[in-house]
């Protein structure tokens, strides 16, 4: 096992904290298990609760390389694993006078490595982040399922590439659609909730050094009010809390919650509603 820093739940929690990621115990335990059991970890949660950050912090605190595959609509094998450099192949074909041997044309020289192949071939510890997997389609999900069980891919022209070190895999999903059962069952699962107010204040301090306690307290209280309000289209996540705190810090004494509401709310109706009902009054 390469990730020796994560031998216990406490150690995992401490390690993540060194990089400024304050994980609560369930999350630290999930990460610990993902490392010990060598199983992928599927993280779900509302937008902006720090799903992607987990992978970043995990890589940073263990010194592993972070390899990220951002899923998108229409992603396929050639975006995710490998592709051939066709333009260069064509040039090589034209340049060669006596024709080119097929084996030479489909050799490593012309291979474009994409994130998943990188993760398999990297010499050393890897944290593989498969971000927003719900954006990919069913076919790609089926491929991922296979990839995550074997940690090997077959390139017809070159043969099978197997992982040198099994990477720690973190998948995130925004739940725009339900993932396939089979893929979910291959993974450990953790739902990241909004943090409690004290924890969120700690996060603000950990992420923005030199943040005055007064601002942190105010912003966290305001964000809490917005989340409780329950009538908004888009609730602010931890990411929004940090931006809001930064905005107030930058404005100094002139900082006003109401004027900087745009840091936390991105839907016009939400902003209007909050102002109209005076949700932030007294914070």
């Amino acid at each position: 096992m390469t990730f020796t820093q994560l031998r216990s739940v406490e150690a995992a929690s401490t390690a993540l904290a060194t990089d400024g990621y304050l994980a609560d115990r369930p999350l630290a335990l999930a990460v610990h298990l993902a490392v010990v059991l060598e199983q992928p970890l599927l993280l779900e949660g509302e937008a902006g609760v720090g799903k992607t950050e987990v992978a970043r912090a995990l890589a940073a605190c263990t010194g592993a390389r972070l390899i990220r595959l951002q899923c998108h609509e229409g992603i396929d094998l050639h975006h995710a694993v490998y592709d051939w450099d066709y333009a260069r192949q064509l040039l090589a074909l034209r340049a060669a006078e006596h024709g080119v041997d097929e084996g030479e044309l489909f050799s490593r020289r012309f291979l474009l490595r994409r994130p998943l192949l990188d993760a398999l071939e990297h010499d050393g510890a890897v944290v593989l982040l498969i971000d927003e997997v719900d954006r990919a389609d069913d076919e790609f999900e089926a491929f991922l399922l296979e990839f995550l069980s074997d940690f090997a891919v077959t390139i017809p022209e070159l043969g099978t590439v197997t992982a040198r070190h099994r990477p720690v895999v973190i998948l995130t999903s925004n739940r725009t659609r339900e993932l396939h059962d089979a893929l979910k069952r291959r993974c450990l699962y953790h739902w990241i909730d909004y943090p409690a107010p004290e924890r969120e204040r700690e996060i603000v301090h950990a992420r923005i050094p030199g943040m005055p306690e007064a601002i942190a307290r105010r912003v966290v209280a305001a964000v809490g009010r917005l989340r409780e309000h329950g009538d908004l289209y888009k609730l602010p996540g931890v990411g929004e809390t940090l931006v809001w705190a930064n905005a107030l810090l930058a404005l100094g004494d002139e900082g006003d919650l109401d004027e900087t509401l745009g840091a936390a709310l991105k839907v016009h109706e939400d902003v209007l509603r909050v102002r109209e009902r005076k949700v932030l009054e007294g914070v």
Partner: protein
């Protein structure tokens, strides 16, 4: 411990979670990897391994409390403990008898259109006047209609013959040129493929919709079964997601599950509140280019302003917003109820939803979107 984990899995399965042998093995490994003496850690570890969706979390907490008790692992309280090991292992595999009587299933298969004209007559007939036999007859037609739906252009590409505006398929060009001595003689092309566009069906099941709800729910069921990326919701005074309940091939079972999930069948209507929940809780399913179809007669007891605001929001986040109103079939129909007055300005299409012909019209419109 193995027995305990076995009964935990059994309770989870009984509630509808999918826990297989693989998960059980993982659970063992997870417990071995942590400090088992801590009850809390064991709970968290098992939860991480045995749950695979947010809905599973609640089931897990129930099951864990049932099997491991409230902190004192004495093992009484769970009815499953009274079963022997063999019964427990057998439990999840015991077949659950279907709710539909075999007689009925037999009868269903017997109903065959005697002549094409039967189907033709059925097409225009109002759902509210259907007999049971006609309902069974219409089922097949509805299933066929449900297969038709909107498509969108995908970023995935597929090989095509040359047409203007397509991109070169270099992969195949390189392959082909090997055969012609390295000269790219034959050109190949790719073009974007088409995929099903997400559809969100929101069906009113309040009292005034009762004559139609049964057939419309059948349409929902058939759509969920036939197409990918379909979400189904039902509402009266509040919104219930019934996509999972409607899944599966068995028609009666699916509708039964859906009816059980909807707490306010044949009750009052608050369309605005239901759409508000759709916009907030399920906003991500509605966004991303989905076609939203609301099936309701627009009799709304709620706040018309709320309905108006939420319809406006829904239309902005959805790709297209279609409203199916069974009352709209009437020649004198005018959207005069408070609810319809608020909703109509925000719909892209207002269709009748009272007969097979109107569902066919819906299918046609969906295909054109």
């Amino acid at each position: 411990m193995t027995a305990r984990l076995g009964s935990l899995a059994a309770v989870l399965r009984a509630q509808g979670s999918r826990v297989g042998v693989g998960e059980l093995l993982d659970a063992h490994r997870a417990l071995a990897a942590i400090d088992c003496s801590s009850r809390e850690d064991s709970r968290l570890a098992l939860r991480t391994v045995l749950c695979s969706s947010r809905a599973d979390l609640a089931r897990f907490e129930l099951a864990f409390a049932a099997v491991f008790g409230d902190g004192r692992p004495t093992g009484d309280g769970s009815p499953l403990d009274e079963l022997g090991v063999i019964e427990r292992t057998a439990l999840p595999r015991v077949a659950i008898p279907g709710s539909a009587s075999p007689l009925l299933a037999h009868e269903e298969r017997m109903v065959v259109p005697a002549a094409w004209s039967d189907v033709e007559l059925l097409r225009e007939k109002d759902f509210a006047q259907y007999t049971d036999a006609e309902m069974a007859l219409a089922r097949e037609l509805i299933a066929r209609l449900a297969r038709r739906g909107p498509m969108r252009v995908s970023r995935r590409t597929r090989p095509v013959r040359r047409r203007r505006g397509h991109m070169a398929d270099l992969r195949r060009v390189v392959r082909a040129s090997l055969r012609t001595g390295g000269e790219p003689v034959r050109r190949h092309w790719r073009a974007p493929s088409r995929r099903p566009r997400p559809v969100v069906l929101v069906c009113d099941v309040s009292g005034s919709m009762t004559p139609y709800a049964r057939m419309l729910l059948q349409y929902l069921h058939a759509s969920v079964a036939a197409r990918r990326r379909v979400e189904a919701f039902a509402f009266g005074t509040r919104l219930t997601r019934i996509t999972n309940e409607l899944g599966g091939r068995d028609h009666d079972l699916a509708l039964g599950r859906a009816a059980a999930a909807v707490a306010d069948f044949s009750g009052g209507t608050r369309i605005g509140a239901a759409l508000a929940e759709l916009n907030r809780v399920h906003g991500r399913r509605v966004g991303r280019g989905a076609v939203v179809v609301v099936l309701s007669d627009g009799w709304d007891r709620g706040d018309p302003d709320l309905l108006e605001t939420e319809m406006a929001r829904l239309r902005r986040s959805a790709h297209r917003l279609v409203w199916l109103n069974p009352l709209a079939a009437h020649p004198d129909f005018e959207p005069l109820t408070r609810g319809m007055r608020a909703a109509v300005p925000h719909t892209d299409e207002l269709l009748a939803g009272n007969s097979l012909a109107s569902l066919e019209q819906l299918a046609r419109i969906l295909e054109e979107i």
